[in-house]
């Protein structure tokens, strides 16, 4: 009789990265192999951060930011490809997604801070330096050039999702069949399903309350990304100013509390969740129609009286014991408005 493969066991590890925390859940035969896979995965996240961080002086993005206003900067195919993809989403969304929002974030005090209302001249200067049209990519020579000084590339809009996708790819090449990679709970991608289960169960919480769920979905070979206004914000009077900018107006987005998208991969999910957040449900779903496999769930209105808007959203109620699915965030209770 042939010896059977040992049963797969579930392993989880979290480490700080990209200014937040990454958590990897994976199934492996034993602890030693899991440790090796985790090491490889976190090394890759570190590599991506080393390329894209604008907090690190030696990163490729910092090099481009420092030089591209003076000269066309040649870069490698990977970084160029990510910039091209970002600009493509900017073009298609007419600027609702934009990786040049750094000056705006700074003006509104959200760069290493909790936010403040900018002075008019600060806002004007930041708006002038913001805009994807200020970036010129030369496909032939793989160069990046800024049309003016003050422009900067901000990886915040897409970097975590890219790192998540890279890890999924590496784990797949290493022979892993079941894993979920979670960047700060805002960007997740799933490979396969937990053995014997229909998918990776992920709960979408009520904005600002991670213990109450408004929906739950099963992920399988796709990604889920959430943008929310409640992580960083400030209030003046009864008005809330969140850290997600509408790059087209230079103002924080109003009226949307949270946007969650399910997409084929986490990189596009990062871009599309921002587009969904900035455009809101009406125009957002028109845009998402163009993206195969995309689904979305918005929470809109005032924080005191939120309402949800679902588009192609397949809810999957976490009936206890019915599916046997394991929760990625097991401590909350379902919530409905």
């Amino acid at each position: 009789m042939q010896a059977q493969n040992p049963p797969l066991r579930r392993f989880t590890e979290s480490r700080p990265a990209m200014g937040s925390s990454f958590t990897i859940h994976l199934y492996a035969e034993d602890q030693a192999r899991a440790a090796r896979l985790m090491e490889m995965a976190f090394d890759e996240i570190e590599r991506v951060e080393e390329e894209l961080s604008n907090y690190r002086a030696g990163s490729e993005l910092s090099r481009i930011n420092r030089l591209a206003a003076q000269q066309a900067v040649t870069t490698d195919g990977e970084v160029f490809g990510l910039l091209r993809l970002s600009l493509d989403y900017s073009r298609r969304s007419d600027g609702a997604f934009d990786i040049t929002v750094g000056p705006l974030m700074r003006a509104w005090g959200f760069f290493r801070g909790e936010g403040r209302y900018p002075k008019p001249e600060e806002l004007a200067a930041a708006r002038a330096a913001t805009g994807w049209r200020n970036i010129i990519l030369d496909e032939q020579n793989r160069t990046v050039r800024f049309t003016r000084a003050g422009v900067e590339l901000d990886p915040g809009g897409i970097g975590k999702g890219y790192a998540v996708d890279r890890v999924i790819g590496l784990l797949r090449e290493a022979g892993v069949q079941s894993a979920l990679v979670d960047a700060a709970s805002s960007s997740m991608a799933a490979m396969g399903t937990p053995p014997g289960e229909p998918g990776w169960l992920v709960h979408v919480p009520r904005p600002g309350n991670r213990a109450q769920f408004i929906s739950s979905v099963l992920l399988r070979d796709n990604a889920l990304t959430t943008s929310g206004n409640y992580e960083k914000f400030f209030r003046i009077g009864d008005r809330t100013y969140c850290h997600i900018m509408d790059p087209r107006t230079g103002q924080p987005v109003q009226g949307v509390l949270q946007a969650t998208v399910v997409t084929p991969d986490a990189t596009s999910g990062e871009a599309l969740s921002k587009v969904a957040f900035v455009l809101g449900p009406e125009r957002g779903r028109q845009f998402l129609e163009t993206v195969p496999g995309a689904r979305a769930l918005w929470v809109v209105g005032e924080a005191a009286a939120p309402r949800t808007v679902a588009w192609k959203w397949q809810r999957s109620a976490p009936a206890a014991g019915a599916t046997g699915a394991r929760s990625v965030e097991p401590h909350g209770r379902p919530y409905s408005f």
Binding site: R66, T75, D76
Partner: protein
């Protein structure tokens, strides 16, 4: 096929005696000023080199060679095109559109691949360490001379602005007399790479660093980055080396030590201590340069200078104080503690932007284009190679090894 046989046959596809190949005309640089670069060994380091070469204007990756074919797709993901790929490096070197070759294969193949590339008329960026043995390093030095091509060894931290700043400060005497360099590369992991699908046939291909047939172990794969920089600080080749190494924790079939401690001694009795362990990460990777005038700490991300604290007792030396009334004894109340005073962070000069690997690749391309000698050339590579090889020899034989017994002076 057992592991050993797989590795031998896999190596056989890549390693063979260097064939004489026709040199490309014009010294190897394409007239269009585009520099065509090929890579032998498209594993993680080879791909990192590819990325960094692609950041240098006018460089194109024109060929990829690896004996493990799934890496072709990974490499093409970086080039973003259907770059021609080869499993036999000799076939690749027969291609016309190659000016320079990156060698990023396991250490035991470096001499083979570097000399074949040089003999074919190509410039070489050879990953560290230069080669596994001193005679192999000598072969590369001879091949560089014969070919007239450029060779740069991939000790990229020599190009990091904060390393250069450290060296400049030492040369300017800011540290007084440098008497010691202590360097650590400490990790807390098994130094293994996951083998796809746990396929035992791929174990030695993916984890070649753990087997001394292919690898120089921690001293070569990690230590070489520190050793030769320390040698530049202390004045070149040491006189002797004494090392200990062993498997302290990871008893998993590997045959290279998972812990090494090595001391190099110089003619003036200055010492370089290097330690690499795999069971505790506390020290991380850092170099400490100790001089009578202060301490420099170098990591992979920054450089820092600490003033040497004033002598214990503080204040100026007094003359003529009377001890006629006697001195009072008592318990010691102040232990010698680690220095916790202020530090000066090195500033990275504007213009020197990018990672150390990028700056090293850019410098190599400049040398090829301008026909200048790489700073970290075959002679540096040979010194580094000798320091690693003799450090390993000392560990294996439990003897102090004299450099003069193994390394001939450069002719």
């Amino acid at each position: 096929m057992n592991r050993r046989r797989f590795m031998e046959s896999a190596a056989g596809a890549a390693a063979a005696s260097a064939l004489p190949l026709a040199a490309s005309p014009g010294g190897g640089v394409a007239p269009s000023d585009q520099l065509n670069v090929a890579v032998i060994g498209a594993g993680s380091r080879g791909r990192e080199d590819m990325r960094n070469f692609m950041r240098v204007p006018g460089v194109k990756i024109t060929a990829i060679c690896d004996i493990y074919e799934p890496r072709f797709a990974e490499a093409r993901r970086i080039t973003k095109e259907e770059t021609p790929a080869f499993t036999d490096y000799r076939k690749m070197l027969e291609q016309k559109n190659i000016d320079a070759v990156i060698i990023a294969t396991p250490l035991y193949l470096h001499a083979e691949h570097v000399t074949a590339s040089l003999d074919s008329g190509r410039h070489v960026y050879g990953e560290k360490d230069m080669a596994k043995t001193v005679p192999e390093c000598d072969r590369i030095v001879a091949a560089v001379k014969k070919s007239g091509k450029k060779y740069q060894v991939g000790l990229q931290y020599h190009y990091a602005p904060w390393y250069i700043e450290a060296l400049n400060r030492v040369k300017a005497g800011k540290l007084g007399q440098v008497t010691h360099v202590y360097s650590y590369w400490h990790r807390n992991n098994d130094w293994r790479r996951p083998v796809p699908n746990k396929d035992p046939k791929l174990e030695r291909l993916f984890n070649w660093r753990l087997y001394k047939e292919y690898s120089g172990g921690l001293l070569a794969e990690l230590g070489s980055h520190h050793l030769h920089f320390a040698a530049r600080v202390l004045g070149g080749m040491p006189e002797s080396v004494t090392g200990v190494g062993g498997i302290t924790y990871w008893k998993d079939g590997r045959n290279v030590p998972d812990s090494v401690q090595v001391v190099y001694q110089y003619a003036n009795k200055a010492t370089l201590f290097f330690s690499s362990i795999t069971t505790n990460h506390f020290e991380g990777a850092q170099i400490k340069i100790y001089g009578t005038g202060g301490t420099i700490t170098l990591t992979h991300a920054f450089g820092r200078y600490n003033y040497e604290p004033k002598r214990a007792g503080t204040g100026e030396i007094e003359e003529g104080r009377s001890t006629q009334q006697g001195l009072v004894t008592g318990p010691s109340y102040r232990a010698e503690r680690p220095y916790e005073g202020p530090a000066e962070e090195f500033e990275i000069p504007e213009g020197n932007s990018g990672s150390a690997t990028f700056l090293a690749c850019q410098s190599f391309v400049d040398c090829v284009r301008n026909n200048t000698r790489p700073q970290i050339d075959e002679h540096v590579g040979r010194e580094s190679g000798a320091m690693v090889a003799l450090g390993n020899l000392s560990m294996e034989t439990s003897q102090t090894v004299k450099f003069a017994d193994h390394v001939k002076p450069v002719a």
